[in-house]
Each structure stands twice: as C-alpha cells, then as structure tokens.
C-alpha cells in the first residue's frame, strides 16, 4: 500500500495553494524542515516568515497578517503550536474569528523517539474548547491536501492536526472532503468504528479482522472533529447500536468525548474509546508505542467486541 506522512502532503499542498492564491502566507517557528513548510519557503521566499523559536509571536503575527487580508498558515509541532500559544490562539485569533490556519505537525504518540515532552495528546481537546475554532484531523495524504485547500477557502480560524510518520493512503483523488462532514468509508451493521487521523487505517484493518470473526463493522472517518457531524454519527449509531472511537490522543477531550456528546444527546448506545488513557507518552518507535498504549487494530477489535457485548438484547 502506498504511504505518505500527512505533514509531507501538507508541504506539497501549501506550494500548490501558494501558486493559485497570492494571499497565502506561511509562518514557521524554526521547524520548517520538519513541518514541511520549507517547500513553500523555497518557492515563495517573500511570503514565508520564519518567526524563530517563539510560538506566541508566531500566532500573534499570523493574527496581524489575517487583519491585513492575508491567509496565514502558521506551523510548528502540535505540542508547541497549541500548548505554548494557547492564549494567543484564544485571544488574538479565535476571539475575533480571524482567518488564521494553524497547521501543526508531529501530533500524537507517533512522534516516537522524542518522547513524552513532544508527543502532543491534548491538542484536539484544547482546540475543540476554543469557541469558533474548526478542528480537522486528516487521515491520509490525499485528505490532507483537500483539507488544506478547504481550510484556505473557509473564512475563520482552523486547526489542522498533522503527523510525523508515513501512513497508508486510504483515499483516491475522487474522495470528496468537506469541512464538517464525516465519511462512512465502509458500511457495516454490528458495530461502528469511528476514527480520526492515522487511526482510520487501523480501524479499516480492525474491520477486516472483525469480518473474519463474522462481525460486520462500519468505519467512519471523522476528520472534522469540530464542528462534529452529529447527523452522520447518529445515523450510523442507530444502525449499528454499538460504537468504538479511535484516536491517537488522550481519551479525554478528543474524538471520543465529541462522539459521546453527540450520542448521549441523540442516540445513547454502548460505546468504547480507543486512545491514550490519560498518561504521557514515552520514547520508542511509533509502532512500539501504538502497541504499548493500545492503539492497534487488535485493540480496536477487542473494544468492538466489548461494545457489542454490551448491546441490550
């Protein structure tokens, strides 16, 4: 299977976007080679601004650009972009609904060897809590590019969560991405696996494993976590009557919480959450960490069986 890191797709998408939209400017905080904004810098040096290791100023400058009719994309690692600059995102960007796009890479446990200090597991929760913020977690390279173009078209603040490692390409170019729309990428009737980001491909694997055990699992890609697609989530849950959420994020405040909020109000069904269980990460290879923190297809299968067993007869 073809694979690509979502940060690589972001870097490529930015360059293409820059060619067709002269208002796009890119700001980075000394991580352009890692966040992949360096491609844009190379082609459009006059529209690229390295702010140095100063994330608060990174977001503040982006807000200033937005008030001047520009479409700034501000990039750093997720841990710094949302953690160190939370106040700036809240007060300078979202409070005034400014047109700033925060595209943060190296989110989640799969940062790997850098360890817990760099493995951001709370960014979805933080960004979801900010009024007016749109939160997007693309599942693969194809969706990343479409999400970046959609974010540039949308007027208002957007947080886009990107990853470090290569992940399988799930979608083909015909895939339609729309902000706020979840996509049922596999139909099923016994359980719904609702996943975001790199966990979508794990969920697809899990669905196959479940198939082998005789269970029909739906897979839903929830790439926009805010605004959440309550309609699709409810519809699928009504059919499957059991749900598992899958995210490379703390189980508190992220996709699991967002889906639970929808279900409890619309269609309460047994639900299990796959995610990092309120602990910090540690150094290791991405795959080892996925296993250690229970984020593999096998873990999803176990959770699905548990959820299905809880269905009322």
């Amino acid at each position: 299977m073809e694979s690509m890191a979502t940060r690589d797709a972001y870097g490529k998408a930015l360059v293409e976007l820059g060619r067709i939209n002269k208002d796009v400017v890119v700001l980075d905080a000394d991580l352009s080679k890692s966040t992949k904004t360096d491609g844009f810098q190379k082609e459009f040096p006059e529209r690229f601004f390295n702010i140095g290791i100063a994330e608060q100023n990174l977001i503040g400058c982006a807000a200033g650009f937005a008030t001047s009719g520009k479409i700034p994309f501000a990039s750093s690692f997720a841990v710094f972009a949302t953690g160190r600059a939370y106040d700036q995102i809240r007060n300078s960007v979202s409070y005034s609904h400014l047109n700033v796009k925060i595209a943060a890479s190296h989110a989640g446990i799969t940062v790997g060897e850098d360890g817990g200090s760099h493995q951001m597991l709370e960014d979805i929760a933080l960004m979801r809590a900010v009024p007016g913020m749109t939160v997007i977690v693309p599942a693969d390279g194809v969706e990343t590019k479409k999400a970046i173009f959609a974010a540039a078209q949308y007027v208002g603040p957007v947080y886009i969560r990107l990853g470090r490692p290569k992940v399988p390409i799930i979608f083909d170019e015909d895939y339609i991405f729309a902000i706020g729309k979840a996509a049922v990428i596999k139909e099923g009737s016994d359980v719904a696996l609702m996943a975001t980001g790199i966990m979508v491909s794990e969920a697809l694997k899990a669905a196959e494993l479940l198939q082998n055990q005789g269970f029909s699992a739906a897979v839903v890609n929830i790439s926009t976590i805010k605004p959440i697609d309550a309609e699709t989530i409810t519809k699928v849950a009504q059919k499957t009557k059991a749900v598992v959420t899958c995210e490379e994020h703390n189980i508190y405040g992220g996709l699991g919480s967002a889906v639970a909020e929808v279900l409890v109000e619309n269609c309460p069904v047994p639900m299990e959450r796959i995610g990092v269980k309120d602990v910090f990460g540690r150094s290791g290879k991405p795959q080892e960490l996925m296993e250690k923190y229970g984020l593999t297809a096998k873990d999803i299968v176990d959770a699905a069986c548990k959820a299905m067993a809880r269905k009322t007869k």
């Binding site: 400017v25 006059e46 529209r47 601004f49 702010i51 140095g52 100063a54 608060q56 100023n57 977001i59 503040g60 400058c61 982006a62 807000a63 200033g64 650009f65 937005a66 008030t67 001047s68 009719g69 520009k70 700034p72 106040d87 700036q88 809240r90 007060n91 300078s92 409070y95 005034s96 609904h97």
Partner: protein, 272 residues
C-alpha cells in the same frame, strides 16, 4: 507645533480624560489610571497623526493603532467616539451587558478598534504581523502600538521585539506608556524592566525618550521615528498614572478601580 493646534490637543485630551472618568464611574469598574496616563499620547495619535477615516474604517491604506495594553480601553473608546467612529453618548455604556463596548477592546464589536487585546503582550505581536503584511504589500502606512510598562514583563513582548528588529520593520512605531506603576505597586519593585532604553537598543530598536504629556515632544518623536530606516522605533514616554486627577496621580490603587459618584464629580471638576 503652533499654539492653536496645541490648545486644540490639550482641550481634546481633557475631554477624553473626562470621558474616562465618566465611563469608569458609570461602569463601576475599569482601569482609569492607565487610561489617563495615555490620554495625551492617544489624543495626539487620533487627532494629529493617524491616517484614518471614521467613515471608512477598513480603508486598506490606513495607519493602524493597536492598544496592546488593552485594559486602557476607556481612553481608546473615548478617542474613537470623539473622532466620529461611534456616538459619544454610547461611551457610558462601557462594560454593560448589552453594550458593544467591552471591558477590553474587541475588534469585532467596535468600529475603529484594530485588534482585540486584553491579554498582555498579544497586541504587540499582532502589530508585528500587520507591519510585515504592510511591507509585503508595499504600503506606506505606519503601524503604531502602545504598550504598558508592566506589560513588557510578558515574554511575548520580547519575542515580538526580536522579530520586529530582525525584519527591520521601520514602518512600526511603538510607544511605551511608562507610568511606573502596575497592579501590585511600582514596576521597579514588582519586577524591574530597567535599564529600559538599553534593553530596547540591545534588541535592535531605535529608542527615543520623551515626556508623554508634552505634545511637542510627542510630535517630534513620532516624526523622527517615521524617518528612521531599517529598524523599528520605541518611544519611551514618561507619564503619570492617573494624570490630571490629583487624587489618582501616581497611585497604583487606581490601576483597576473605578471612582465613586463623589470622586467622579471631584475628578471632573479638576478636568474642567
């Protein structure tokens, strides 16, 4: 500056100071001290300097003013109202439930407010972004920003200071409202930012030091700053917190508390 202009500015600053007292008095809360200390600077900017148009607040070629010390919202609102951005009568609705005049500046609600501020240090960075954008678009406008002397304890201020110097933003003019007091007491005792001129120079800025209540000095400094090439300018303006109201002057206690009815009357009498 000719005498007529000087008299006009002095009168306007007094009117604005009176608004500050009336607004905070009516609200029963707010920040009169640091609003009054900036009244002369703000008056100069809005009535002599800024290239702005109240009938076209989004005019792309306009100068920008960012009130980074957002708690001085009353002085900004008073100047904007006097300049015709919104009715002067609305000023006394400050901080009230249905008012668009929020406790701290909100650009989405108030015509003429260029940036939402209140969390200290944030406005300064946004001004750097505006200056970078203006440079990119080859505009000949200026980006002005007013900082508090307590505010510059925020680390973000120095991140932004480095960036402005690195990018040689000579279209950016910062003014420091150096009134020497912050909530907990004298700035020198809470956490001294001195030596201020040396610090800003070391960060790559042109530094000018003036009396922030002397309109001639303000004019000269701003005109000089506009001629500076290749770096941003910081005008350190020595001011008096609570300026113009005897019982408020140089009293840290008036940073964030409003005058009562009797105090409002006394203050207005002094400002008449």
């Amino acid at each position: 500056m000719d005498e007529k202009t000087l008299a006009f500015l002095k009168d306007k600053a007094k009117t604005i100071s009176r608004h500050i007292i009336e607004m905070t008095g009516a609200a029963g809360s707010g920040h009169p001290g640091g609003s009054l200390s900036a009244a002369d600077i703000i008056t100069y900017l809005y009535f002599k300097e800024l290239k702005i148009d109240p009938n076209n607040p989004d005019w792309p070629e306009r100068d920008r003013f960012v009130l980074s010390k957002g708690h001085a919202a009353p002085v900004l609102y008073a100047a904007l109202a006097e300049r015709g951005f919104f009715p002067v009568e609305d000023l006394v609705t400050l901080r009230k439930i249905d008012s668009y005049l929020q406790g701290h500046p909100d650009m989405k609600r108030v015509k003429g407010v260029e940036m939402t501020t209140g969390s200290l240090g944030t406005g300064f960075s946004t001004a750097v972004g505006m200056a970078l954008a203006a440079r990119m678009d080859k505009k000949d406008n200026f980006i002005f920003v007013l900082l508090g002397d307590g505010e510059i304890q925020e680390g973000q201020v120095w991140e932004a200071a480095m960036a402005a110097a690195h990018y040689k933003l000579d279209n950016m003019i910062a003014i420091l409202d150096y009134n020497g007091l912050q909530i907990d007491g004298p700035v020198s005792e809470v956490l001294s930012p001195e030596p201020l001129p040396d610090k800003w120079r070391a960060f790559g800025w042109e530094v000018l030091e003036i009396d922030g209540h002397d309109f001639d000095a303000i004019e000269k400094a701003i005109n000089k700053a506009k001629e500076v090439k290749g770096k941003p300018t910081m005008i350190i303006a020595k001011t008096i917190k609570g300026k113009g109201v005897s019982f408020m002057e140089n009293e840290a206690g008036w940073h964030g508390s409003a005058p009562n009815k009797e105090q409002v009357e006394k203050a207005l009498a002094e400002l008449s």
